[in-house]
């Protein structure tokens, strides 16, 4: 289900970071959502539609607008660059319903929210929920330089003195082994940030005896570009060219077929496809498939994964 929406406001938060407000084209009310939810924007790039997920950072009770923030990423496939360089207020966009792959643990007794850079966006919606529910929580926010501490003021109104900022240009960093030490039973930690930060966090939490059930993170993988190839849909015989910067899922969608999806970041498993034949090698980039699944050569997550060339046939 897709909503017809419009970019109603664009705010420059910092160099290379923009906030966007989305409202419905028909002026109608938006559904509410839970902290940690994201939506998928269909961006009308010159080469075709690109679908990117973004966390909702606003107030879920605000049924007039949704808010997202986007960092310009030169090295990526062009979606963020388009949002920074080409998108104008009034631009029409198709947007998915919210989905939540990063929910709050409602049985937690204390919550530690950790943001790295633009990873602050889901933490805002979590902080808002925890504040509304009167739960015990704290926020740790690391950013490159003072001017990149976007939305920190908004976080401070929610977390008060329990907001802690770490400015890398001043040599301040989050020390996970201190941050996670001596936490009472029932503490849950949540992190959204760059890949290296996510990996360090999981490794240190694990070394300190935290069980996976209490260590949450969100990472949206962008589909990496690669050599062009052909995907063949077995049920219709349709053959579709996947361009260098396009994901396999986007190419299938552009042919008029609409497979189900949720995260478009290799995490949720919704768009999993069965591989019937492949004359090159599978390049798995997802976080979902088990090693056994990968070894079987029978499954692929087309939102982020591709093949080295030639032709792949999927059971679709």
């Amino acid at each position: 289900m897709q909503l017809d929406m419009r970019l109603s406001r664009i705010i420059e938060l910092a160099p290379g970071i923009r906030e966007f407000w989305l409202c419905r084209e028909d002026g109608g009310e938006l559904p509410t959502y839970s902290g940690g939810s994201h939506v998928v924007l269909s961006l009308p790039l010159p080469g075709g539609i690109q679908r990117n997920p973004y966390s909702l950072l606003g107030d879920p009770a605000d049924c007039n607008k949704w808010r997202i923030a986007v960092r310009r990423q030169e090295q990526s496939r062009g979606g963020s660059v388009w949002l920074h360089d080409s998108a104008q207020e009034g631009q029409a966009l198709k947007v998915s319903m919210p989905a939540n792959l990063f929910p709050m643990a409602r049985l937690g007794r204390h919550h530690v929210l950790i943001a790295g850079g633009i990873g602050v966006t889901p933490m805002l919606s979590h902080a808002r929920e925890l504040a509304r529910l009167g739960e015990s929580f704290e926020v740790h926010y690391a950013h490159r330089a003072p001017e990149f501490g976007v939305l920190a003021d908004e976080l401070r109104t929610l977390a008060g003195p329990d907001l802690h900022c770490y400015v890398e240009s001043r040599g301040e960093t989050i020390d996970f082994s201190k941050l996670l030490a001596r936490r009472p039973l029932g503490t849950h930690a949540y992190l959204c940030g760059p890949q290296g930060m996510v990996e360090a966090y999981h490794r240190i939490a694990s070394e300190m005896g935290w069980p996976d059930t209490h260590v949450h993170s969100e990472r949206f993988l962008a589909p990496p570009p690669g050599a062009p190839f052909t995907v063949r849909l077995a049920k219709t015989g349709k053959a579709i060219e996947v361009r260098r910067e396009q994901s396999m899922l986007e190419a299938i969608e552009s042919s008029g077929v609409q497979p189900p999806f949720l995260c478009r970041g290799g995490a949720c498993g919704q768009c999993e496809m069965e591989v019937l034949d492949c004359d090159s090698s599978l390049l798995h980039n997802d976080l979902f498939l088990s090693q056994a699944d990968r070894d079987s050569g029978r499954k692929i997550m087309p939102c982020v994964s591709r093949v080295t060339g030639g032709c792949i046939t999927v059971n679709l």
Partner: protein, 195 residues
Amino acid sequence: MTAAPSIKSQPVYHAIDWDQTGVEHLLFIAADDPATLDRLLANRPPGGLTLVVAAAEAAERLGVAGVTARMVIEQNATSALHALESLLQQATMGLRLYLVGPEDAIWQAAAVATRYGMSSAEIRLYQTGTKARPVFCVHCRAMTRGVRTNLADCSGCGRTLFVRDHFSRRLGAYMGFQIDAEIPGEKPPVETVYP
């Protein structure tokens, strides 16, 4: 090996061992099981170890054996649960909890741990000692403890209950329902099935 239960809510217990991913360990002993306990204590995990012992024989034996862990000895299950609770109040992330004993005691202890936000990933349970079941009467909601037979009189309403294999972790009990509701008096013979 135990056969897979016919009702999937019934817990299945595997031989217990230390969870090497924990950094603190708390072993709650509600029944003596020399083979299991001696094996565990002969091969202690890295990190701190605390024992809460509610079984008199185990306490005596472990004391004689000179086990050096921090040991809290309680005279009965109720006071042992209180001792467990006060330890969990002070405990921090990284703790693993091991519950050894009859189902009634270990699931009451698990309920305490759940209140402190522990997940099943942090708790290991092992049934030993009596197989007697706590039974929740679905008619009057009274709990009847120590049931060793297929049929039991409810401690609340007095009905003759059939003890099902359906188990609630939240209640720490099996479900009991009136066996002769359809035809009064029509009951199978009473047998001891949970020794």
